[in-house]
Symmetry: C2
Subunit: 442 residues, 2 copies
């Protein structure tokens, strides 16, 4: 059984070595590697195969993400791993989102051979449209729906769709700093001749470009519009976080290309499922072609599950509140209410910890009228964009790492090293330890 | 509800327009487009939204692939859509492959944060290793297991892993003609500066390269070894079809990189799940990095389902045969026996049709001793590589298309137009109509 552990010695050397290739991801890799080594020693000792030496035919439990934390753990808030949502799905709504797939189902490559996006499950498309009608965050009528392996794949599909044919110079890809750290890494990792990362949109002065407009913005939560206005350029709107738990829904977005992901809406990151609303037919066709060439479509199992999950959310809002519970208290069927309550509570704790510490600052709260909640509410972004004003702390990511808090440093977002991005979507336990530690830093 | 049909007007214009971009896929796109338009008219009439006007909250049935065929249908054998296997999974084994996923399960990005391939479900890895031990087609002990969104993604990951760092010229990617038509298309669609398609390996005279060795070969079923031997080059073995239903298992393959896919082993193409066995740790790390950047991992739902499906196969061979049934007849739990029986029967029908027609030829049968079946058996490849000797038929793909049979022409495989690739894995109904039509061509 020694070979069972062949791939299990920890991600240390590998991800770190790999990171040399793309400087921009180096530190992310390092963080993960450090965490991996630490966890391995802590939980598995020197026994590589760990607890996996059961009888061969036994079931292996599905993974549950990062191991549980303790008061002395490394707390990894680098990725926006949305495990906060698990508590919701363990409640009543979760049962209604359970999926059963018989062995013979959805075996074909094709979902709808006559459709522009021939690998899109009709049931998933239907629930996407229903959810947008419920929330009012985007216009879906008149748009093509595309499915992707997460919105990361759809982002690449959009770059492919807008790149000039023939031997033209690569299309410039830009976004105003601070921008999502994956944009440069994913744009450039294959050194494509079709497109290349050209940095901060505010510094760009070309005529043709793709501007990535992330709103609310990852990492800082800002509400954004395209900053470039050339007629030859195009904007791709990454609306992964434009959901009522994170920000007031002020209008139904109606941009040419809008990207969404199940991960940040419902918390199902492991399902790797995103969708795009695309106005122009030819653009939608080219995006679909990218996904055909890259992965010959998208997991139908994820699409069936995604459909069931979105359906549970929309149904939850069409269901009368549980008898006896006050209308405002029964969030067991209402995902956005559950998640907003969590975000409100976490941001209050974080702001209290920042005040107690005295060495940090956070962006101001942005209030607005939410058409979904039908009241004025504040934004509670999925990431905290934390700045440190203390003398001598030029590398805040390193400073926090020494204190066993893994974050993502400003440099990867086109910002300076005195700022970091911190996920607000981890488990209650990890978040509680994080704010305790933060409050104690003076 | 008009908008529900926004993306549904048929793939005609779009895929055809798109095809201009990459000449190599043009005809594939055209075939699909022609089929789509035909099917749309046939099954949906002019009503774009088709049968989808049910109440909003109703369940939408999962897709079932291409619509059923009739005697006058277009028969699409272009893709290797493995719907032949559905009959097996509707039997007893299928029930044991049913998967149930509760709403709260596998929400995290991470499967095993301490693993080199941190998005690989341990249960899937375990069943991959079990299956290789059962079949004996590849050595898995001492290898790293990686998971991909189909083997297409793992193929790209391998190209990424072997590309030189820094500003070196792109790595040449080659394969002996006839080669799988996706190799050039997928290698070149992003015009990567890391690698580029360099054509037929037999014509290549450089020193550094990646040679793709597909064995049994797609499209012609040939058993292959690497043809290039330079010390600076590397071989990637695509063993998608190295399973007992298609070819005698003559030895356990032990190459540096071996790619497999659930699609062609079990028939679950829609699950989009492949795996790689990789000897070298650094290569495995770079491949894993590609998948991290491309899609941030692989659908956990697909992995959970894949684990269950592979488990059902291996368990089926460990289970005593049903009482009363002859040992050779009870294939309801034995996937490879079921599929081999199907392949034997289909190849016999195809060879009879070719003999009846008189204008076609097929590759010779290749017999060998199969260590899995423990007897000498012939190869029954998943594709028929059909040649036409008739005067004036220089474009066999076009000739068959006029007779409503969609195939993939030799030009896309680096061969001539008198030959086509035909999927042997479609439904019984489609296959029967196909051989009837073929026999009648004189």
């Amino acid at each position: 059984m020694a070979a069972m552990g062949g791939g299990k010695e920890g991600a240390g050397g590998g991800m770190a070595a790999q990171a040399g290739r793309l400087g921009v991801v180096a530190s992310v890799a390092f963080n993960l590697a450090a965490l991996a080594l630490y966890l391995r020693r802590r939980y598995f000792g020197d026994d590589d195969a760990g607890g996996r030496r059961k009888g061969e035919a036994a079931e292996v439990a599905p993974s549950s993400g990062k191991p549980p934390v303790t008061k002395d753990s490394i707390i990894n808030l680098d990725h926006g791993d949305p495990t906060m949502y698990e508590a919701f799905w363990r409640g009543g709504a979760g049962e209604r989102a359970t999926i059963v797939i018989p062995g013979w189902q959805t075996m074909s490559y094709f979902s709808d051979v006559g459709s522009l996006c021939w690998f899109l499950e009709p049931g998933f498309e239907r629930e996407v449209r229903r959810l947008h009608r419920l929330v009012g965050n985007a216009v879906a009528d008149g748009y093509h729906v595309l499915v992707g392996t997460g919105s990361t794949q759809l982002f690449q599909a959009a770059l492919y769709a807008f790149s000039p044919p023939g031997p033209a110079a690569p299309m410039s890809v830009v976004s105003p700093a601070p921008y999502y750290s994956s944009y440069p890494a994913v744009t450039d990792f294959l050194k494509s001749g079709l497109y290349r990362w050209a940095g901060d949109a505010k510094m760009f002065d070309g005529e043709t470009y793709v501007e990535l407009v992330c709103s609310p913005n990852n990492p800082d939560g800002g509400i954004r519009e395209a900053v470039l206005k050339s007629g030859a350029g195009v904007a791709v709107h990454d609306l992964a976080y434009y959901w009522p738990q994170y920000t007031p829904i002020t209008k139904a977005a109606a941009h040419d290309i809008m990207l969404f992901t199940v991960s940040k809406c419902t918390g199902h990151a492991g399902t790797r499922l995103g969708w795009a609303l695309v106005k122009d037919r030819a653009v939608a066709q080219r995006m679909s072609k990218f996904i055909e060439l890259n992965t010959i479509g998208v997991s139908k199992d994820s699409q069936l599950r995604g459909a069931k999950i979105l359906k549970a959310i929309t149904d939850g809002y069409e269901r009368p509140p549980t008898a006896g519970a006050g209308a405002g208290d029964d969030d067991s069927s209402r995902l956005f209410h559950f998640a907003r309550r969590q975000m409100v509570s976490r941001w209050a704790k974080l702001r209290a910890a920042v005040a107690a510490s005295g060495i940090f600052t956070l962006p101001d709260e942005l209030p607005g009228h939410c058409t979904f909640a039908n009241e004025t509410v504040s934004a509670y972004p999925p990431f905290a964009w934390l700045r440190c004003d203390k003398e001598g702390v030029d590398d805040l990511e390193g400073y926090l790492r020494e204190r066993k808090i893994i974050t993502r440093g400003g440099g990867k977002f086109g910002a300076d090293g005195r700022v970091v991005r911190i996920s607000m979507l981890d488990t209650d336990e990890a978040f509680a330890i994080f704010v305790d530690r933060l409050a104690a830093m003076k």
